[in-house]
């Protein structure tokens, strides 16, 4: 079970905006997060992963406290090891697709399974700039999964895929996520995108 309660002022050019979220995410659930553009969805995911520190808040994952601003606990991202699919992918320009996965895990069998699930076998030797948008996005998802994360944070992770590709990928993902016992939080704009994937939802505004 993952408990989150955070509060952060977001500076914009014209004053401040307040990002306030409180929720409890059951183990192995897939939660869809939505809300208007620029409200702070990406910021929310980054706070969970430990990349941004909120002004106030508590994050507890499976009994372990990741963040407690009052008790001054703040685990660094390395100890949280949340799988993160960045909105802009954040792939490593120097690595081929295969090297991305090998960087995340030593498990060669998992690597081949992931490549197959993402239909990326033939692109294993490509660097990010040699991949199409959709291929890059799939690689970002596979990389996040490769570390068998307890918590998977996906930021608009299906936006560059067509319906068919997404649906087959989701089928494979669900198997993997169940196997790993991963709790997933996915930011998505399109209702349709997470159909058959998310089992709960959270609105930020």
């Amino acid at each position: 079970m993952i408990e989150i309660a955070i509060d952060k002022k977001i500076k914009t050019y014209m004053g401040y905006n307040r990002l306030r979220v409180e929720d409890v995410f059951p183990v192995s659930s897939v939660t869809k997060v939505y809300g208007p553009s620029g409200i702070g969805k990406t910021t929310f995911l980054k706070i969970i992963a430990g990349l941004i520190t909120p002004d106030r808040g508590i994050i507890k994952v499976a009994g372990q406290t990741w963040l407690d601003t009052q008790k001054k606990i703040n685990l660094p991202p390395q100890e949280r090891k949340a799988g993160f699919v960045f909105q802009d992918y954040a792939l490593f320009p120097n690595m081929t697709a295969l090297e991305h996965l090998r960087y995340a895990t030593q498990d060669h069998q998992l690597v081949s399974r992931l490549l197959r699930a993402g239909k990326m076998e033939t692109f294993a030797g490509h660097r990010p700039h040699q991949l199409s948008g959709g291929q890059q996005q799939r690689l970002a998802i596979l990389r996040a999964l490769a570390q068998r994360p307890k918590l998977l944070l996906m930021d608009e992770a299906f936006s560059a895929m067509d319906d068919e590709l997404r649906e087959t990928l989701i089928t494979d993902l669900k198997i993997l996520l169940k196997e790993f016992g991963t709790t997933t939080i996915i930011v998505s704009h399109h209702a349709q995108e997470t159909l058959g994937f998310a089992d709960r939802s959270l609105k930020i505004d």
């Binding site: 992963a49 430990g50 990349l51 660094p76 991202p77 390395q78 100890e79 949280r80 090891k81 949340a82 799988g83 993160f84 960045f86 802009d88 954040a90 792939l91 490593f92 320009p93 120097n94 690595m95 960087y103 995340a104 660097r127 700039h129 990389r143 570390q147």
Partner: protein
């Protein structure tokens, strides 16, 4: 023409470059992270040895390394090392003098990298060190090679500092640049030309190889 000075020069340049790779790159990383004004000041101080004429820098180094000085005495007593008139001294001097050529380009390149690369690696549980070695450094390869080439070439050509604290000891501190200088000063232009050519040829080949290697690591177009 003798080969010892050339060999000494290459050895000096290689060792200096190596030391600077090991010490300069972490320093560049540290400087590239945002920080207090202190970092700016430290960076400026690193640049200062450049501003002095090398032989004057050599003079100040001589003062601080000479067995009369506190530092020199201490080194001699506890480590039995003398940094004047010894190869070790040349290495230390070259490291100080060439430091900014290694640190500055690498630091700037690191500063230009998007923050998300490191962030992605951190969420994968990778330490700062591993992230630096396997993600950040490989993505600034071109700048890294540039820094190596500049440092290497600059150390080869170094002369004023070396002349001051080296003392032209045959086979110890008489590097190629000093041999060339002596030849020119002695009107032995033929010998000077020969030395220069050999030094040129060797460095040229090294530099070309580095650049070709580096070029192939750059991104290719769609075609």
């Amino acid at each position: 023409m003798e080969w010892t000075p050339i060999w000494l020069s290459l050895k000096l340049a290689a060792i200096t470059t190596l030391i600077l790779l090991v010490t300069g790159i972490p320093m560049a990383y540290w400087l590239s992270r945002r920080g207090s004004l202190l970092k700016v000041i430290i960076e400026a101080i690193l640049t200062m040895p450049l501003v002095l004429p090398p032989s004057v820098l050599g003079f100040y180094l001589l003062l601080s390394f000479s067995p009369n000085s506190i530092l020199g005495k201490w080194l001699l007593e506890y480590f039995n090392i003398s940094l004047v008139f010894s190869f070790e001294g040349l290495v230390v001097a070259s490291v100080i003098y060439s430091l900014p050529f290694m640190v500055s380009p690498v630091k700037s390149a690191l500063a230009h990298l998007p923050a998300s690369l490191a962030e992605a690696s951190y969420t994968m549980g990778k330490s700062k060190f591993e992230t630096f070695c396997r993600v950040l450094l490989p993505n600034i390869k071109s700048s890294l090679w540039t820094a190596v080439v500049l440092t290497f070439a600059h150390t080869l050509g170094e002369f004023g500092v070396v002349l001051m604290i080296g003392g032209k000891l045959e086979g110890v501190t008489k590097v190629a640049s000093i041999a060339i200088y002596d030849a020119v000063d002695n009107n032995q232009y033929h010998e000077a030309n020969l030395y220069s050519l050999v030094l040129f040829a060797i460095t040229f080949v090294i530099v070309i190889l580095v650049f070709i290697f580096n070029r192939n690591s750059l991104k290719g177009p769609l075609e």
